[in-house]
Symmetry: none
Subunit: 412 residues, 2 copies
């Protein structure tokens, strides 16, 4: 089974956006045992798209295309696949009805721009892939011994369409060895520290392979086993995962790929306890992460983004004398913020973050990246000091991750 990705879009060749679809698709194909041999990126140019698709089709069994399904003149994928497969484009009535329904739902009757009609034309014999998240249907075109799958380039559309339609199709159509993956997720330890702890395991394992990687302030260990069935793969992974878990217990927060905020949600739900937030330098990011979890309204009561000193005093009851004596970025202020928000919201836990995100506002005593995090619990209040490197956005991300890590540890 040879798989190949063709990513279409001039914006990618101009460097305007990072291609995250390629990684998403590569992982998905790996999960059903399809080897990816090539990935090609090509601009919105008829000749080069047709040339690239022809080559892909000549050397691979499954060609997955992302992009070029929009309603504009630049969107060439439908026509190029039709040309390469030597099939005419035909109106798919069901796909057209779905696009019309999408516009009806969002904008009312008769609001579909005429251009969008074009999106319902598919190569003859193709099956449309429903798109509940946007206008462009994808499609699967079966050819003798081969298949072409086309998906829109917008990740919010491509990802659920791939998961709901393409993945089950691939599993059924291209049966073979499966790759089974398990991710262990860690907080409060870096990639190098984790690798040091697990060096012997990483070097000695071949099936499953054991690979650490870092993404978005979080470190993961991925175990990947190749086997005839999912069950066999899981049986290969289980003892290695257990061995790693035993050694990394203080840092391991999920063995199922959950986000830290999801695990915190489960912890709070299980205890029947509630949370309130007081954010300064993170500006709402911790609240955003906490509320990304469906059902978070059951335990998250409220949050305060207290950018000004006046807000710290009036909303959270921070003492003016504390701000005057120690400053807004101090362990004393962090503690009063956490205790104040816990009291104001009537919550079991109050979590507070105050720091200097930069690029301005730093001093020799209080440099950019200095962040205090405080957690007020029923029993006591803990204050942590951090100094994060990086630009404004990274200081915000790292502060939020550290705050959630502190909460998670105390909820265990």
């Amino acid at each position: 089974m040879r798989g190949e990705l063709v990513i279409i879009g001039t914006e990618l060749l101009l460097g305007e956006i990072v291609d995250t679809n390629a990684q998403f698709l590569a992982r998905g194909l790996a999960s059903c045992g399809i080897n990816l041999y090539y990935k090609s990126t090509v601009g919105d140019n008829w000749v080069r798209i047709v040339e690239t698709l022809s080559r892909a089709l000549s050397r691979s069994d499954l060609v997955i295309i992302s992009g070029g399904l929009g309603p504009t003149e630049d969107d060439l994928t439908r026509g190029a696949v039709a040309a390469v497969a030597n099939r005419p484009l035909e109106l798919d009535e069901e796909a057209l009805e779905a696009i019309e329904a999408y516009f009806r739902r969002r904008y009312g009757e008769g609001q579909m721009p005429p251009n969008n009609r074009k999106q319902a034309y598919l190569p003859r014999g193709a099956s449309a892939i429903p798109n509940h998240w946007g206008t462009a249907p994808g499609f699967i075109l079966e050819l003798p011994g081969k298949a072409i799958v086309a998906l829109p380039g917008v990740p919010a559309e491509l990802e659920p369409m791939f998961a709901q339609t393409v993945l089950p199709y691939c599993r059924q159509r291209f049966q073979g060895d499966v790759l089974v993956t398990k991710n262990l997720s860690f907080a409060g330890i870096g990639e190098a520290g984790l690798e040091e702890l697990l060096k012997d395991i990483i070097l000695s394992q071949t099936n499953p392979t054991v690979a650490p990687y870092a993404s978005q302030g979080m470190v993961r260990i991925r175990l990947t086993a190749r086997a005839a069935t999912e069950e066999e793969g899981e049986a290969l992974i289980a003892p290695v995962a257990d061995m790693i878990a035993a050694r990394t217990e203080p840092y391991l927060f999920s063995t199922t790929g959950q986000a830290l905020e999801e695990v915190i949600g489960q912890q709070l739900t299980a205890r029947g306890q509630s949370l309130a937030l007081a954010e300064s330098c993170t500006g709402g990011l911790v609240g955003h992460r906490i509320t990304n979890v469906a059902g978070s309204s059951r335990y998250f009561l409220r949050g305060y983004v207290v950018y000004s000193n006046a807000a710290k005093v009036s909303d959270l009851g921070v003492q003016e004398s504390t701000l005057a004596q120690y400053g807004a970025v101090s362990p004393q202020t962090a503690q009063e913020m956490a205790e104040g928000v816990r009291r104001a919201a009537g919550a079991d836990f109050g979590l507070a973050i105050t720091g200097i995100a930069g690029p301005d506002g730093g001093t020799p005593e209080k440099p950019v990246g200095l962040v205090y995090i405080a957690l007020a619990s029923p029993g006591d209040t803990i204050v942590e000091k951090h100094h994060f490197a990086g630009a404004r956005g990274q200081v915000k991300e790292r502060s939020a991750q550290a705050a959630l890590t502190l909460l998670w540890k105390n909820l265990r």
Copy 2:
């Protein structure tokens, strides 16, 4: 001038990492007027690397390779370039000395593993690209009318090596036309709607080209001109940009690639006015975006994430009777939230969002995706009703974008 990227590494085809080098290199090449026509990604496999490099060399003038320069058996780039260019690999004494010096500096005398010696072998005639950030030297190999550049795949090495050595080389070696790009950014209109407005311009323009694209809830028009100098390119773009701006004035928020929250920050700063936020379904995301802008503490006073009804009442002064009669997701509650947060914070503007992000909590009368946004200004309060499609994360993103759009429009 045809440029092409060849990205080498099995980890990219397994989806283990996102390829950020491609974007970095694409931007760099665009800045010196080199058109990127193709980008190919291939695993650590001799046959496929040689095949891909041969094709790249046959169709492009400049081939830039990333990855495969490490010291292991998997690192095949040096040998593959030598094979494709028909040059033997030879020891580059200076490159060897640099690698030895790197290990001396980091680990002391005589600590270079024997494998790393391999990294100093380059195709005959190649010039080494110094690597002060790691062990692998890159190289430039000049061929008749063409050039191959090889860089290590680690971004922390590739990026400074490209900036210090490859970019100046490209500027000098491939003098010629430059590509000048201008992005116009729009809020409150979709990609198809914008194209409808500008169809004749998009179809009739060849230099600059005019292309709409959508990313992260925002629509952009990209103008790209080819010219002998930057000044000439800008002169070609200016009249077309003006023509588009005149037609799209109600939606155009930036002609310099700024984010919507940056433009809002400039508007508030220029007026000397301040902002406070009351977020329900966005959970802090609007505050996060507002505070991504350096210096936002000058105009952003505070935010409230009022997930519970109790918080809406106690922090914002929403009437219990309003919540009882109309519910938390209603135009009445949105209005009282906006006016309440404006009053509580003593701000010029109060912006409020209340809605149902899903997946639970919807009813036939108030379905998932129903969102009310209110803006309380010195003079009056505006309330908008929206119905957003998509999963929880998308409803949050779209609500935040709509709220910022409402604020921006009213600050113009």
